[in-house]
Amino acid sequence: MSRRGSTRTPAIRLDGVTKRFGDVTAVDDVSLGIDREEFLTILGPSGAGKTSLLHMIAGFTEPTDGEIYIDGDPVTDVPPYEREIGMVFQSMALFPHMTVGENVAFPLEMRRYDPDRIDERVREMLELIQLPDIADRDVTELSGGQRQRVAIARALAFEPTLLLLDEPLSSLDKKLRGEMRRELLRIHRTAGVTTVHVTHNQEEALTMADRIAVIDGGEIAQHASAEELYDRPNSPFIADFIGDTTLLSGRVREHDGRECTVELAGGEPVRCLPAEAPPPDPGTPVQVGLRYERIVAGETVATDNAFDATVREVAFEGDTVTYEVDLDGGVELSVTELNTTGTRVFERGREVAVGWNAGDEFLYPATEG
């Protein structure tokens, strides 16, 4: 993130970009700047308008409203083939009637490069993706991971100013996904190209991106670094969408200007330390978000908030154990414990103590009611 040069014009800027298909608003007034060499991930559930956004940046569709700037110049009237943007498609979109070499050479041929220069560049690109010997292969013979790499090589062959990745890992199996994730980052660093990456997979977003823009219902919900997004989600939606969170509703009982007490629906008092002081006024309905892994469970707990509870379900996940517990007042919580040496796995029906410290919760004004 140190690479971010904030004084220069952003590599790409979206200004109030809106896309409507008939009555449906796919992208709603999105404004966003992406710095040079940044790796930005647009994260959102399926149908959130991610692909529409990418298609507008690439120039396949025009925004209904707003403007897109690349290097400070508006591009709405620029056709896709003049935008110098590389793109890796969800289906890879490798041309099935061409060899690997011909696929990678395609953008260079379109730019009327010298044949020798094309050969040289194709060789360079295949070396970059560490598959130097597959130029004469048919793309239909390639494995999923190889197709992925070839698609990247093709998208980067003409040295685009911007690289778009549309769910690039979604067609790969889990193991390959991890490998390709590292590969993509390596290539991003080697090529140093500004990258916009679209995904619905939060883990992919958290591990890859310099910054993440979470998009929901066509709008940007939060645009921040991965750590900030995880530690300080700005809405219950983000808290729920990224990481595992229990959302509880309650009402502020009292506060001292810094700390406050929230009464949960079951009557339990919870001490909270909201990041933004002062806390909401007494009587305000609120939502309290609790990360599964921030809650501890044990025979006894020594935390600011501590409750007696009964284990309702146990899910053993190997490295972690997740309990669903019922507080005595009726509130339901989920708790994830690390499975390290000496950890006790509680069985169903056990009485346990659960708790967390003030400040470990997220506090939001209730959205409705």
Binding site: H55, A58, G59, F60, P79, P80, Y81, E82, R83, I85, G86, M87, F89, Q90, S91, A93, F95, P96, H97, F106, P107, M110, R111, R154, A155, F158
Partner: protein
């Protein structure tokens, strides 16, 4: 009762193949389809001047006589010309129609499709009569190109089907990718869209060519004696007598069909023909 059924099943299971009963039915159909087709080949090697079974003696004399049969050669040449013309007309028309129907928001698309099926719903003999009347009215009857045009018309739906099924199957991301990589509209079409439609075009083109090479009824109605095509000439020759010479000529067709099947299998795979 149940015991008998079980024993029957056990018996069936011992028959070869995955589908024993079905297999037997289909095997009979294969014989039924092939025998009348391939028998012409056998008959053409007849040594005598009358076709009879079993043949008196085998000989290639009728093939040796073929190069001297100018009437047949000329008719064959005309048939090839007509088939080529018909295919050359049908391919661009088929591509344009496929793209137009599927890529654009056409009003009354359903009605247009129904209209384009007219060549199939109008009985062939009526199509022949209709084209005869039109070509007569236009004063072009007896010109060879009219036969090619007629065959392009009556088989056009085959071409349109082959192409539309490919246009439908075309992944829009491929064209997006091409434009993204720097290909403007024309190059996108030439380098990506057209090659992707190619299997459909080849399939349709092959069907058009072979059907035109074989077409008989419409040709019979609209050809005048100086432009008869080979199927029409074979027909008149059969009516005259069942000479083994005609069998040798007809064998050319069986060979052409086998060649077309081979070509189809090599170019796009025969399975492709079961897609549209």
């Amino acid at each position: 009762m149940a015991d008998r059924r079980r024993r029957l099943r056990a018996l069936l299971r011992r028959l070869p193949g995955e589908y024993p009963v079905l297999g037997a039915i289909v095997a009979a159909q294969v014989v039924f389809l092939l025998v009348p087709t391939l028998i012409v080949l056998v008959a053409s090697f007849q040594g005598g001047s009358v076709i009879r079974f079993p043949p008196d003696e085998l000989s290639v004399q009728w093939y040796a006589a073929l190069p001297g049969e100018e009437r047949f050669l000329a008719a064959f040449y005309r048939s090839v010309l007509v088939a080529t013309f018909c295919t050359a007309v049908a391919i661009p028309v088929g591509i344009a129609t496929g793209l137009g129907l599927i890529r654009y928001e056409i009003r009354f698309a359903g009605g247009i499709q129904l209209y384009l099926l007219l060549p199939f719903t109008v009985p062939l003999v009526v199509s022949g009569v209709v084209l005869l009347l039109i070509f007569r009215e236009l004063g072009v009857l007896g010109q060879l190109w009219t036969v090619g045009l007629a065959l392009a018309i009556i088989n056009l739906p085959f071409m349109i089907w082959s192409v539309t099924s490919r246009v439908n199957a075309l992944d829009p991301e491929l064209e997006h990718a091409a434009r993204n990589l720097g290909a403007e509209e024309l190059q996108t079409f030439l380098h990506v869209t057209l090659p992707a439609l190619m299997p459909g075009v080849i399939t349709g083109g092959l069907i058009m060519f072979v059907l035109a090479l074989n077409e008989f009824l419409v040709s019979l109605l609209i050809t005048t004696p100086n432009i008869v095509t080979l199927p029409v000439l074979i027909y008149t020759s059969i009516r005259a007598n069942v000479s083994p010479l005609v069998a040798a000529v007809a064998s050319v067709y069986v060979l052409a069909a086998a060649l077309a099947v081979l070509a189809a299998d090599r170019l796009v795979g025969l399975e492709e023909f079961l897609r549209s």
